[in-house]
C-alpha cells in the first residue's frame, strides 16, 4: 500500500538547510495498523506530510497504492488525496462555520458526489462514530472527543485506502483517548490501513506495529503484543 525507499527531506533554514529525513525505508501493507513513534524533531510529522501528499520529498522513491509519486502538481496531488487518503489531525481541523454533517460531507463535495447522496453517506458515517444525534451541531458545540470522532468520520467518508492520523489523541484526555483509539481499532478490524503518528507509548502500544524514529532514521520496527494476539 505504502512503499518508501531511501527517502530524504531537508528544509532550508536561512542559508543552511536542516536535514530532517535521512534515508527512510518503510513498507506498509494493506490492512496494517502502524504507529510512528518519536520525540518532537525526530521527523515523524515530516514523514506523515510526505506520505499524505501534503509536502514533497527530495530524494528516494515513494509508491502509493503502487503508483510512483514524483513531481506531482497541486491538482494531481489534490485528486490523489481525495481518492486514497483520509486525514485525522491533532487539532481536528474542522471548518468552524459548518455543522458536523457538512464537515463530514465536504470530501465528497470535492469528489463530485451530488448533495443528496453526499448527506446520506455522511450521515451513515456519523452514525458509525456514534454522533448521529449531533449531526446539525457546529464544532464549537462538541467536546474534544466528539470533534475528533467527526474528523475520523470525515476521513473515512470517501472510503480511502489509508487513514493518516497525526497525533489524533494529542489534544484529548485519557478517557476520550481510549474511545478514539477504540474507534481506530474498529476501523482497522474492518480492513482499513491506519497510519498513526504519536509520541505516547500508551497509544502506540494499541497499534499492531511500531516504527521508532530518531533524528531522521528508523531505529526499530517491530510488531506489538496486540498484533501477536490476533
Amino acid at each position: 500500500m505504502i512503499k518508501i525507499e531511501k527517502l530524504h527531506k531537508s528544509y532550508p533554514i536561512g542559508k543552511s538547510s536542516l536535514h530532517v529525513l535521512k534515508g527512510i525505508d518503510l513498507h506498509i501493507k494493506e490492512g496494517e495498523f502502524v504507529s510512528i513513534m518519536g520525540s518532537s524533531g525526530s521527523g515523524k510529522s515530516t514523514l506523515l506530510n510526505i506520505v499524505g501528499l501534503l509536502d514533497g520529498h527530495d530524494e528516494g522513491n515513494y509508491y502509493l497504492n503502487g503508483q510512483l509519486i514524483r513531481d506531482l502538481n497541486e491538482k494531481k496531488a489534490a485528486i490523489l488525496r481525495n481518492k486514497f487518503l483520509g486525514f485525522v489531525f491533532q487539532s481536528f481541523n474542522l471548518i468552524s462555520y459548518k455543522t458536523a454533517l457538512e464537515n463530514v460531507s465536504l470530501p465528497l463535495y470535492y469528489k463530485g458526489v451530488n448533495r443528496k447522496e453526499r448527506l446520506k453517506i455522511a450521515m451513515d458515517y456519523l452514525d458509525k462514530v456514534g454522533l448521529k444525534d449531533w449531526a446539525n451541531h457546529l464544532p464549537n458545540e462538541l467536546s474534544g472527543g466528539q470533534k475528533q470522532r467527526v474528523a475520523i468520520a470525515r476521513a473515512l467518508v470517501t472510503n480511502p485506502k489509508v487513514v493518516l492520523a497525526d497525533e489524533p489523541t494529542g489534544a484529548l484526555d485519557s478517557t476520550t483517548t481510549d474511545s478514539v483509539m477504540d474507534l481506530l481499532k474498529d476501523i482497522n478490524n474492518e480492513g482499513m490501513t491506519v497510519f498513526v503518528i504519536t509520541h505516547e507509548e500508551e497509544v502506540a502500544s494499541q497499534t499492531k506495529r511500531i516504527v521508532r524514529l530518531k533524528d531522521g532514521v528508523i531505529t526499530s520496527d517491530e510488531l506489538t503484543k496486540a498484533a501477536k494476539a490476533v
Partner: protein
C-alpha cells in the same frame, strides 16, 4: 458558475462572516455611488452649457455691417455700409438650399403705452422665419406671417413680460398698443428661454417699421441659419461665401475685416461644448479614481479574507480541493459581492441624482443624470473590478501549502 453547490458554499461563507462581507460591500457601493453621482453631475454641467446656447438655434449666423477700413474701387475708406431688403433676396438666390431660415432685423427703441401704463421697450422688426431662428415660443395668438409683411400690417407680437407690465391681468390679444404714439394691434404673445430681456421685446413686421420710419428699405442686420446637412465645413464655407457675396455687392476690399462682420453661434457653441466636455472628462476621471480606490480596498479586504481563511482553505485542500476550485470559490465570492454591492450603490446614486433634479441649478448643474449605456458599462466595470480584486488573493490562496496553512491559527 452555475454550480449550485458552489453557490451554497459562498452563501454559507458570506452568512457566517457578515462583518467582513459588509465592509467589502460597503466600500464598493460607496465607490460606485461616488462615481455615478460625479458622472451624473458632469452630465448636469454639460446640460447647463447646452441650455445656455440652445436659446438660439445652434446653426444661426448673424451678418452685421460697419464702416470700411480700406479704400477700394474709387470708394474712400470710412464709408458706412447699410444693408437693404434686396440683400436678403440676393443671399437667398446665391446660397439657395444652404439656407434654412433667413430674416432681417431692425431695432427701434420705443415708448409703449396701453391705457395708463407705459414703458420703454425695443421693437425688433423681422420676417416670419425669425421665429425659428430665435426659437420664439408663441403662447397666445400667432407670430408675424408672410401676409403681414406683404401688406405692411400694423400688428405686433409682444413678449410675455411686456404683456405683464402694460396689461396686467387684462388679456392683450386684439387690443391696441401705442408705440411712439402710433397704434398697433397685438396679435400674439410669446415667451423665450433666453431670459427676461428677450421677453421684454416687441416683434413687428419688417415692412411695417420700414414704412412708418422714413419709408426706406434699410435693415440693421441679417440673421440666417444654415442647413444642418452641410456639416461643420459646409457651414464654414457658407460664412466665407456670405462675406464674398456682400463684399462684391458693396465694393469692399477683400481684406476689409470690419465692413461686413459675420458671427456664427455655431463657433461659440462648439467651443463651449468642448469646454464642457473637458470638464466632464475631468469629473469622469475623478470618478474613475474613486472607483479604483474602491477596487483596491476590496482587493485589500479579499487579501485579509484569504489570510483569515488560510486554515480553512488548507483543510479544504487536504480534503481534495484542487487549486482551481479554491480560485473559483474566492473569485466567485468577490465578484458576487462587488456586483451586488456595486449595483446597490448604482441604484442609490441614480435615486440621489433623481432627487437632486434641478436643485443645484445655481451651481451650473442642470438635470444631472446618467444614461443606460453608462450604467451598462459601470456594471461591466464592476464585474471586472471584482474579478481583479479577487484574483490576486485567490491565486495566493491556491498556492497555500496545506501543511503550512493548517499550522496557522
Amino acid at each position: 458558475m452555475f454550480d449550485l453547490d458552489r453557490w451554497r458554499e459562498i452563501f454559507q461563507s458570506i452568512g457566517k462572516n457578515k462583518l467582513r462581507t459588509f465592509l467589502g460591500a460597503f466600500t464598493v457601493a460607496l465607490g460606485i455611488f461616488i462615481f455615478t453621482v460625479l458622472f451624473g453631475m458632469g452630465n448636469g454641467l454639460k446640460n447647463t452649457f447646452e441650455e445656455f446656447f440652445s436659446d438660439d438655434a445652434t446653426n444661426t449666423i448673424i451678418v452685421r455691417s460697419g464702416r470700411t477700413t480700406k479704400a477700394y474701387k474709387g470708394f474712400k475708406e470710412g464709408r458706412q455700409i447699410q444693408f437693404e431688403n434686396e440683400d436678403i433676396e440676393l443671399l437667398e438666390k446665391e446660397l439657395g438650399n444652404s439656407i434654412e431660415y433667413i430674416s432681417a432685423r431692425i431695432y427701434k427703441g420705443v415708448q409703449a403705452k396701453f391705457r395708463q401704463e407705459s414703458g420703454s421697450y425695443t421693437v425688433r422688426a423681422v420676417h416670419p422665419e425669425h421665429q425659428f431662428l430665435e426659437k420664439t415660443m408663441v403662447d397666445e395668438g400667432k407670430f408675424i406671417n408672410a401676409n403681414d409683411v406683404k401688406n405692411k400690417n400694423r400688428i405686433v407680437v409682444i413678449g410675455r413680460l411686456v404683456e405683464q407690465d402694460l396689461f396686467g391681468k387684462v388679456t392683450s390679444l386684439g387690443k391696441f398698443i401705442e408705440l411712439n404714439g402710433i397704434a398697433y394691434r397685438v396679435v400674439g404673445v410669446f415667451s423665450d428661454s433666453g431670459g427676461d430681456n428677450e421677453e421684454r421685446l416687441i416683434y413687428a413686421p419688417v415692412s411695417t417699421i420700414q414704412l412708418i420710419y422714413k419709408n426706406t428699405t434699410d435693415i440693421d442686420q441679417i440673421n440666417l441659419s444654415f442647413n444642418k446637412a452641410l456639416g461643420v465645413n459646409g457651414a464654414k464655407k457658407m460664412v466665407r461665401d456670405i462675406k464674398k457675396i456682400l463684399k462684391e455687392k458693396y465694393f469692399i476690399a477683400r481684406e476689409d475685416r470690419s465692413a461686413i462682420r459675420v458671427r456664427s453661434v455655431f463657433d461659440d457653441y462648439q467651443q463651449n461644448m468642448q469646454f464642457a466636455s473637458m470638464l466632464q472628462f475631468i469629473v469622469l476621471w475623478i470618478g474613475i479614481g474613486t472607483l479604483f480606490a474602491g477596487a483596491i480596498s476590496i482587493g485589500n479586504i479579499m487579501v485579509f479574507v484569504v489570510k483569515e481563511r488560510t486554515r480553512e482553505l488548507g483543510i479544504r485542500k487536504a480534503l481534495g480541493a484542487t487549486p482551481s476550485s479554491i480560485i473559483g470559490l474566492i473569485l466567485q465570492e468577490s465578484i458576487m459581492i462587488t456586483a451586488l454591492a456595486g449595483y446597490f450603490g448604482l441604484l442609490i446614486a441614480i435615486f440621489a441624482l433623481e432627487k437632486m433634479g434641478n436643485g443645484l441649478k445655481d451651481y451650473f448643474i442642470t438635470n444631472p443624470a446618467v444614461n443606460t449605456s453608462t450604467i451598462v458599462w459601470a456594471t461591466i466595470l464592476l464585474i471586472f473590478v471584482g474579478a481583479i480584486a479577487g484574483f490576486i488573493p485567490a491565486r495566493r490562496a491556491a498556492r497555500i501549502k496545506p501543511v503550512v496553512a493548517m499550522r496557522e491559527d
